[in-house]
């Protein structure tokens, strides 16, 4: 047989398979729908995972090369200013930033905010100028410059609900009085994952909210120009200061990636039960040949079709079905994740806080996802259909000759 006739024949077989499926569309619809749903869920999870990982990679660029914390009794405690001075002396270290930050839980909203203490005047002059929408106040009431703050977009939306979008009141049981902050700007929506539950407070005010004494800090951010040296310097810090713990950017990146990976794998594993049920359904549908189908295969065999040819028909049917399902499932997932922002699924991925990033994630769709989706969805499907397809294909022609 020449290549041409082989192609010609394959085209005819595909033709026949298509016709055959269309004639029995009712049998295939249920399978198609479930299949699409499965591919949809699997791809959604993978898309979210992929984009989050990518977003992590991007935002981790801003992380300090090494974060230094003081550990006492296995817990993180405040770090003192002299530590920073000592670390700054290590060769290779360019700068050490003393950071003030923490979390604040707001009762009525049941939301957890990340609080960051900074010098806002400096921010306004520096690069943050670009990514913050600054508010101006028409009135010129005297304000305490220590109690100003910038918030993330999601935070502002939330604060509108409790009408605190101009002034936010911090309070915790045990405090003598409320601490009130003026909101002087919001972050633009670009770096959402990080800035969404974030409140940046003027540092002096932040110390009040976090109850941090004046010469103490939450942790230190160490900047090192040469990436080759990061690991070494981290080791050195640990050796010189036994009470300090170092976390490199690489470590944070890895742990984030593995958290996302772990979460998506968890979702997928729970999905495995669904996939398994689906496979049983397929097995059942594929093995239970109707009399009519058996007769048709008998006719094909009787007019000279080989078992191998009937198997090819079955193979194409499986391929067409899984092809249609995969493409539709993937497209649906794409729309769901990148346009609708994955309602329902995203909560699983973004930890504890009630404020989730608004998920305008940049699409990260790659050939590699296709390989994985095919392996998880299509391969088991085809595998399960092989045996029933073979059973059908070996139907003897005389089944039909001895009329049914």
């Amino acid at each position: 047989m020449t290549l041409r006739t082989i192609f010609e024949r394959q085209r005819d077989i595909i033709d026949y398979s298509l016709q055959n499926m269309l004639r029995r569309w009712s049998k295939n619809t249920l399978i198609l729908i479930i299949f699409i749903v499965l591919v949809f869920i699997v791809s959604s999870v993978l898309f979210i995972n992929g984009s989050l990982t990518k977003e992590m990679m991007v935002t981790s660029m801003d992380l300090p090369d090494i974060t230094v914390q003081r550990i006492k009794g296995g817990r993180q405690v405040n770090i003192q200013a002299p530590d920073a001075l000592e670390i700054e002396k290590i060769p290779g270290v360019e700068a050490v930033e003393k950071r003030v930050w923490g979390y604040f839980y707001q009762e009525t909203l049941q939301a957890n905010f990340t609080i960051y203490g900074m010098d806002l005047d400096q921010l306004e002059k520096g690069e943050y100028n670009q990514i913050v929408d600054w508010k101006s106040y028409p009135d010129d009431i005297e304000r305490n410059p220590d109690f100003r703050m910038i918030v993330g977009h999601g935070v502002l939306e939330l604060l509108k609900n409790i009408e605190m979008d101009n002034t936010f009141l911090f309070f915790q049981p045990g405090w003598q009085q409320l601490i009130s902050f003026d909101i002087i700007g919001t972050f633009r929506g670009e770096t959402e994952l990080q800035s969404n539950d974030m409140m940046i407070l003027q540092i002096q005010g932040a110390r009040k909210v976090l109850e941090l004494p004046d010469n103490e800090f939450t942790d230190l951010a160490v900047f090192i120009p040469n990436p080759e040296e990061i690991d070494n310097i981290a080791l050195k810090i640990q050796r010189l200061f036994p009470g300090l713990r170092t976390v490199t950017r690489e470590q944070i990146k890895n742990s984030y990636a593995s958290v996302f990976g772990w979460k998506s794998a968890f979702v997928l594993s729970s999905l495995l039960a669904g996939i398994f049920a689906f496979l049983i359904l397929i097995w059942d549908k594929a093995s239970g040949l109707s009399l009519e189908e058996k007769r048709e295969i008998g006719i094909l065999k009787a007019v000279g079709w080989d078992t191998a040819l009937v198997l090819q028909v079955k193979f194409w049917e499986g391929l067409i079905l899984s092809g249609i399902s995969s493409v539709s499932g993937i497209l649906l997932a794409y729309a769901f994740v990148y346009w609708l922002r994955a309602p329902g699924l995203k909560q699983i991925f973004i930890g504890w806080s009630t404020i989730y990033p608004s998920f305008r994630l940049t699409p990260d769709v790659d050939f590699k996802f296709l390989v994985l989706i095919i392996t998880i969805c299509v391969v088991p499907y085809l595998a399960v259909t092989i045996f029933p397809a073979w059973k059908a294909a070996i139907t003897d022609p005389d089944v039909m000759i001895r009329n049914i």
Binding site: V45, L46, N49, T53, M57, D231, E250, Q251, K253, N254, S255, A257, S258, G261, W262, S264, A265, F266, L268, S269, L272, T307, A308, L311, F315, D366, F367, K368, V371, L372, I374, T375, I376, V379, P380, L382, A383, I386, F387, A389, W390, A393, I394
Partner: protein, 339 residues
Amino acid sequence: MILHPWILGLAVGHSTLLLLFSLCVLNAWQIFRGWDYNSTGENQFLLEKKTYLISSIINFTLFVQILMLFLFEITADELANVLPGAMCAVGTLSSNNYGFLLLNLKIVSTFVYFMWLVINYLDNQMETYPLVKKKYLALILIYPLPIMEIILFFKFAFHLDPSVITSCCGSVFNESAKGIGGSLANSSASISLSLFFCVAFLLLGNRYITCRWGRGHKRLGALLEFPFWILFFITAILVTISFISTYVYEMVSHNCLFCFIGSQYHYYGVFLYFSLFIATGAGMTGGLLEMITKPAILAKKARLLQKKMHTVSFYGMMLFLVTGFWPFIVYYIKTGRLI
């Protein structure tokens, strides 16, 4: 152990493969035991039908195997995000003892399945299925391959430890590094290039001589193709590490076998390895087909198929050469110098 979607995908793939292969081996055993061409009993009819089941499954197995080869590489690449120190697939694979072992086994299995399918195809052209027993015995004998694969895979997955710092292509293939990777890259480009071209010319020369000389030499020459192509594969990988990759990345110190597979390099590696696998697979099979000498008609058909395999492997080799040396040529023309 790292629970990760990619690991999950590999687990699904491996289990599917093993399950199907086991079904195959079960049936192959029945055929091996019960096959009797002259019998007209129901049992013989059933066994004949089972041959279709087995070829379908092995066909599918080969497809999945190739898919899994990709998936494995992608997984290794993705997990580099999770493993400290790993920058790409090499880091993940070398983070424990099983990664590269599994990869090598996967490559071997892919070739073995391919060769089995070709022999099966050949045998199915004969009315009497002369190779039927040998074929199915062979299938039973290669059953350890998928079993080993799944064992190695789980060992690999369980020993992935995010708390251990691994080394990556920068150091694995680094000139100063110890171990095989290092000494590979170390055996500078010129040595591996000369080795590679030696083998290539040996292959082509052997073919030329085989075509010219009489029967006796013909047989030896054709048989030699099998080991020669294995050598070709190995030296091609050497050249890829020490020479081709530097021109793809345009960096002296970057000698990675995997980074160029992905989208950043426009799937360059996919084309490169595709041509290499085609060439080697067809070439080895050509050598293997020479072993078939009885019966005469089968041998004749085998020779015809062998010719096709020779042609395919030749073009595969050319494709590999063009794909592999293309970045070098472009670089040389652009800059007028070597890296």
